[in-house]
Each structure stands twice: as C-alpha cells, then as structure tokens.
C-alpha cells in the first residue's frame, strides 16, 4: 500500500509542478465561474444543476489532457522501464497514478465549492441535493479519469492517448443516441450503458444503488484493463 501512495504522491507532485495543471485549473474555474454566474443571474434559482451539467462537458474536454501523460508520458520519456523494474506491482502503478489524478480532480471540484457557499449566502439551497449532485459529478469525473488512464496505457504517444480517451468518453456519452436507432428493448440497454444517464437521479437528489454500482464497476473495469496493459508492457 505504501508503494501505491509513493507513486501517487510522486505523480501528484509532478501535476502541481507542471504548468499544464495550472492552465487546466485556470480555464476550468474561469469557465465554471462564468456558467455559474450567468445561470444564477438569469434563473435566480438556488440550484447548482445547470452549472454541474456544464461541468460534465468540461470534464469531457479536460480529463483527456489530465490523464494522457500518466502512462504514455512515462513511455515517451523512457522512464517506463525504470518504473517497471522497481519493486512495485502493476496494480500499484495503475492505482497510484489513478489516485493522483483523482486527487487533482477533487482539487478542481473543490474550487467550485465557493458556489454553494454563494448560494447559501443569498438563498436557501437544498444541501442534500447539492451533496448528491457533487457525488454524481465526482463519480462521473472519476469514470472519465479511469478511461483516460486506460487510453494512456495503450500508447506511448501523448496525443494519441488524449484523442482516444476523448473518443471513448464521447462514445459512452452518446450511446443513447445510438440506442434510439434500434428501438426498445435494445435502446434501454444502451441507455443504461451511457455514462450520463446515471447522473439524472443524483442530480435531482435521489441516490440509487444501481447508479453507484454502474460507476464503480465502470471504473473497476477500466483500471483492471489498464493493469493488464501494463502487464503486457513488461513482456516487451
């Protein structure tokens, strides 16, 4: 376990050391600030729903950039062999890097906490709903990070990692549209598999165990496949 955290903290340090993270954070918070203020000024409602929906789109666009270098970066810098020959398991590597990206995500989400505080100053928002909405957003972001990490494990080229991560996330986002072509009951299956359809309940304030299971199993699946990819790298 300690090795896992060692990898995680090393990765996290490199996140905060590189200007990329700050650029992403700056753009992220500025965009969210604009969305929040504009939506609030127009609707005058004490809710985070609009902002968090936009946040999902921002996640789609920024998480590939955040995860592309996790494994592909090691390979492009030729430090992968050193990592593989250290006394760490493949699982440690994958989970450690995932933890780092997840913590950075939590940092980004944390910067949005100023919004519910503003809502509370001016109105009476439903804090339970805010809580579940954040839970949904974090699960969504965590899922995107897992996909990004998986894509990063497939290649040594950062751009390829970023684009394939984006492509995969977009595919899962758009599954309901594909499903509509086939009609029920297949469309229901596609809708279940879509990554956004499980946000609805949480955004409204309803915790459904099926949604939680979906996200956790998605993340688990991606991480498992990523561990397998790292294993393959050992052969070479």
């Amino acid at each position: 376990m300690a090795k896992l955290w060692a990898i995680a903290s090393r990765e996290l340090k490199s996140y905060f050391a590189s200007p990329l993270a700050y650029v992403v954070a700056f753009i992220f918070t500025a965009i969210e600030g604009v969305f929040f203020s504009v939506i609030l000024a127009q609707s005058r409602e004490a809710t985070l729903q609009g902002m968090l929906q936009n946040l999902a789109v921002v996640f789609l666009l920024t998480t590939p950039a955040l995860t592309m270098s996790l494994i592909a970066g090691e390979r492009s810098r030729s430090t992968m062999e050193m990592l593989l020959t250290s006394p760490v398991t493949d699982r440690d590597i994958v989970l450690g890097k995932y933890m780092a990206s997840l913590m950075f995500l939590l940092f980004l989400v944390g910067t949005t906490l100023v919004f519910p505080v503003i809502l509370e100053i001016f109105g009476k928002p439903d804090w339970a709903v805010i809580g579940t909405s954040y839970l949904g957003t974090i699960l969504l972001g965590a899922t995107f990070l897992a996909v990004g990490l998986l894509a990063s494990s497939w290649t040594s080229n950062l751009i390829v990692a970023m684009l394939s991560a984006f492509g995969l996330m977009l595919l899962f986002w758009l599954l309901p549209a594909v499903g509509n072509i086939f009609g029920s009951p297949y469309s229901q299956a596609f809708e279940y598999m879509s990554v956004m359809s499980h946000q609805e309940n949480l955004a409204r304030g309803v915790i459904d165990t099926a949604d939680i299971i979906y996200y956790l199993s998605f993340i688990a699946g991606c991480l498992f496949l990523a561990v397998r990819s790292v294993e393959v790298l050992r052969w070479r």
Binding site: E32, G33, F115, I118, V129, D208, I213
Partner: protein, 533 residues
C-alpha cells in the same frame, strides 16, 4: 508415396477452398433471398442461412487442420499462453461486471434525500399500496419511436417504476404500440401515453394524467367494488356541477370523479326521497326558498346515517335552509366576513375574501395549504347543542376579521358585527340516541359539513391555493374515506433568490476573476518556491 500424399494434400486444399466458396455463396443467397420474398420463401432463406454458416464453420475447422503445425508451434510459446490467460481473465472480469450491473439494476434501492421528498411517493400513496390485497396490472401504451413523446414516456416510466418499487403487487408493463398493435387494440387505446390499471380480469380503469394524484386515484378506483354517488341538489339556483362558467362547479365535479365518485344532480321536488345510493348530498349556494317537503326529505336522509355538505353564501332574503341547519348545531349568520389584514389580493373581492393559513382544529385540515373564501358568511356553533350533536370548527379566520351585518352602505366594524376570529366552516357529527325505535336498523352516525362560503369551490376559485384540497378533504371526511384525502402536489420548483443591486456583479467577479486568478497566484507561488529551492 510422396506423390500420393501431395495429391491428397492438393485435393484436400481444393476441398477446403470449395467449402469456403460454397459457404460464402450460401450466405449470400440467404441474404439475397431475404430481400426477395416473392421468389424465395422465408423458410428457404432460413435453411440457406443455416447451411451457409455450417459450411463456413467446416471451412474454418478444415483450415485450422491444414495449419495445425503452425498453431502447435505458436501455442507452445509462453506469450501465447499468457495471452490466452489474459484474454480469459479479461472476459471473466467483464462478465462479472456485467452481471453485477444487471443484478444491481434489478434489485436496486432508492433513497430520496431532497427536502420535501419530491421524488418519492407521498405517505398517502404508500398507505394505499400497503393496503392492496390483490395484484394490479398496470400497462402503459407508448410509442418509443417518436421523439416528441420521450419526455412523457419518461414521466410515466419514472412514476410507475416508483409504484412498482414500493409494492410487489403492482406489475408494471410498457407496451410499444407500434410493435404490438394487437395488444393496443384489445385495450382500445386511442392515444400514446395511455395507462390502464386492471385488477385480475376485471374492468380496465384508465389513468387520467401522469401525476401521483392521478395514479393513486386510479388505483383506488380499480380496487373499490362500488362507486359512491355524490348528488348536487338543484332547483334553488344552486351552483351547477355541469357548468364550466365561473360560478359553476364543473371543476369540482371532475375532481370528484377522479376520486372515484359518481356525480349526479338531484331535484328534491321530483324525487320521493334522496336516492338510496347517495353517499353525500351537496347543497351549494341555494338562492330561492326551500319547500318544507324538500327539507323533510333531506332531514330523513341525514337521520338514517346520511352525509350532507352544505355550502352557503351571503345574500338578501332567506331560503329557510339556514334556519333548518340549526338542528345540526350550526348557525349561519347573515353577514359578510371582512378581514382587512389577511385577504386575498387578486380575487376581485378585496377584503371580503379572507385568507386562512392556520388550521388548528380538525384532522382533515391538518396539512392544508392556504385557502381563501371570497364572499363568505360566518358560522358558529349553537350555545345549546341538540342532543347527540357534536360540532367542531374546520376553518377559522384571523382575529382581525369581522362579520359585517350592514349589507348596504359603508363597511365598518360596529357593535352589531361579530368579532373575529370567525369560523367559516364547521363539521357536525350526529350520534343517534340510544332509545331509537326497536324496529330501526343499526343506527349509524350522520355527518354534516356547513360552509359559510361556496365560491371557494366554484370554477373561479377552486384551483387557487388549497381550496381544491379543502373541498375534497371535507367531502372525504363526510364519507369517511380518509385514505382518499387528497395528496398535495409537491412543490418541484427550486427556491428563488432575490438579489440586491450590485450583488450579481459581485458574484460574477468573484467566481470568474477571483478564484481563477487565485489559482494562478498559487501556481506562481509554487513555481517561485521551486526556483529558489
């Protein structure tokens, strides 16, 4: 020897190749045949397809046999074995995750954490569902192919999923009208989005609307064996339940029907007595005098356990009805209630439309929203109640109200006027005396509700505030259908915020400039630290 082996091998190769080609030809023929049903019957196309796949399968096996040497060599390598293990492991894990999701979706649990539980069903519905004794089949007929209905389809599904989740007796099915038109025809479905409830093989009740109230009412309709009848007395200028004009009560009628009541009109002159199937008799704002025999018939009805819903209104003259009501312990004053502090601002009657916020008295008014009563008379209990009569108030004004008795001229509170707080509605219960005639049937309790106002239940005002709920709650108390006490619709709009001047801009600058710049400074700080370290 070698030549013979070579010849056999060459022949085998040709056979394998032939198999491959044949397989492809068969499959192509099957595909082509499926598009030309006129020339190629479906059965033939099906057999062609089977034959094609079998042939292709044989081809694959034959090719594998041909290359068995290569396969053996590769399998021997470690990479292949680990690769195969990997593939197997991945397949197993993905299958596990898939099953996990399948069962997770099937046996899921919902927790609604919103403040007013707006995504859960109300307690009344939960009670109704718990008391279900038989299975109910709920069938929704929708179109999954038309995008316009997606929102409605989702509403129906969300709502009835919750019902099915709460009660195993509710079996919910969605039928795609376009795919199964025969089922839709059997149910005589005419519109997309129709939902039917059926108890066993019994009558199919159609659910009107997609709200929780509509659904629960329909469930009650489906589970009740007899329908109760509500009669509106006519002949004295009373409000007309068939009318949709402002003073009419057509709206009240349809809300009664949604609650599984049948609504009929009653003329006390032409009928010998109040019909036996009457559950409640409503008298709504009579303007002309009653004949004595009419009042006698009403009295006889109430005496044998009948339920009376009396609604009056301020007017000149006397109908004799108010005096008759005193035998139930309630007097209705000849006044107009004025409340200068709590009145409805938009009813058009100004201070003569008192608003009531608090209901400290009766169970039927417990969770009621604010109600208002344009043009109302005050009611009160008699000092000396008749034997067997108990009375309790339903609705009471604020203490600032008074009952103006001077119906002409300026309205001013004086000694003749009753002082607030004034009661606007009373509920009376009559228990028959123990010394009933020996031949009488089992004595039943009678109930009478007297309102000093009718307009709250007319089309003009019944949809405002809690008026509709009050109307139904009082009626349900009369018929002792406490389960049907109406379900207040949940407030689904989020709270709104009022901003002062400059606050919106402050928020904008803080969030768009403040926080991001703060992060830039943080980054700069970290970078500076690293440089100097």
């Amino acid at each position: 020897m070698q030549t013979q082996d070579n010849q056999r091998a060459a022949l085998f190769d040709k056979v394998v190749l032939g198999l491959g080609i044949l397989g492809i030809v068969l499959l192509a023929a099957a595909l082509g045949g499926s598009y030309l049903p006129k020339y190629v019957p479906a059965k033939v196309a099906l057999y062609l397809r089977y034959a094609g796949w079998v042939t292709v399968g044989l081809y694959v096996l034959a090719t594998a046999w041909q290359n068995r040497g290569w396969i053996a060599d590769v399998s021997r390598q470690r990479r292949a074995r680990s690769g195969a293990n990997s593939v197997a492991a991945v397949a197993v894990v993905l299958a596990l995750l898939g099953f996990g999701n399948y069962f997770g979706a099937k046996y899921h649990k919902r927790i609604d954490v919103t403040e007013n539980k707006k995504f859960s069903l109300s307690d009344q519905t939960k009670k109704v569902l718990k008391e279900l004794k038989e299975d109910l089949t709920v069938t929704a007929f929708v179109s999954n192919n038309d995008h316009r209905f997606q929102g409605m389809n989702r509403q129906i599904k969300d709502l009835w999923d919750q019902y099915a989740y709460l009660s195993p007796r509710i079996k919910f099915k969605i039928v795609d009208v376009d795919r199964d038109p025969s089922v839709a025809r059997k149910f005589e479905v005419t519109r997309y989005g129709t939902v039917f409830i059926q108890r066993g093989e019994g009558k199919k009740i159609e659910v009107q609307g997609t709200s929780e109230q509509d659904a629960t009412s329909a469930i009650l309709k489906a589970t009740q064996d007899t329908q109760k009848v509500v009669y509106f007395v006519q002949g004295h200028g009373e409000a007309d339940p068939e009318s949709h004009e402002e003073p009419g009560m057509g709206q009240a009628k349809s809300s009664l029907e949604k609650q599984n009541y049948q609504v009929k009109k009653l003329s006390l002159l032409t009928e010998k007595q109040v019909p036996a199937d009457a559950a409640v008799v409503i008298v709504a704002a009579p303007k002309k005098p009653f004949y004595p025999q009419e009042l006698d018939k009403l009295g006889a009805f109430v005496k044998q356990g009948g339920r009376l819903y009396a609604m009056l209104a301020p007017q000149e003259g006397d109908t004799g009805f108010e005096k008759w009501l005193t035998k139930y312990g309630v007097t209705v004053r000849k006044d107009v209630v004025i409340d200068p502090q709590q009145f409805h601002p938009y009813s058009g009657y100004g201070e003569m439309a008192p608003v009531v916020h608090r209901y400290p008295y009766h169970e039927t008014t417990q969770r009621l929203a604010a109600t208002f009563f344009p043009l109302s008379r005050s009611v009160s209990a008699l000092e000396q109640l008749p034997e067997g009569v108990s009375v309790s108030p339903l609705v009471e004004t604020s203490e600032f109200a008074w009952g103006e008795t001077n119906l002409k001229g300026q309205a001013k509170q004086d000694a003749a006027d009753a002082k607030g707080p004034l009661k606007l509605a009373m509920a009376a219960t009559l228990t028959p005396p123990a010394s009933a005639s020996p031949t009488a049937l089992v004595a039943k309790e009678s109930r009478v509700v007297v309102f000093g106002n009718t307009s709250f239940a007319t089309n003009q005002f019944i949809l405002g505030g809690g008026n509709g709920d009050l109307f139904l709650n009082a009626l349900n108390w009369l018929t002792e259908q406490s389960a049907l006490v109406s379900i207040p619709s949940k407030d689904t709009a989020p709270k709104t915020i009022d901003f002062q001047n400059g606050q919106v801009e402050a928020v904008f600058f803080t969030t768009v400039a403040g926080v991001p710049l703060g992060l830039v400074f943080l980054g700069g700080f970290v970078w500076w630290r690293r440089r100097s370290a």
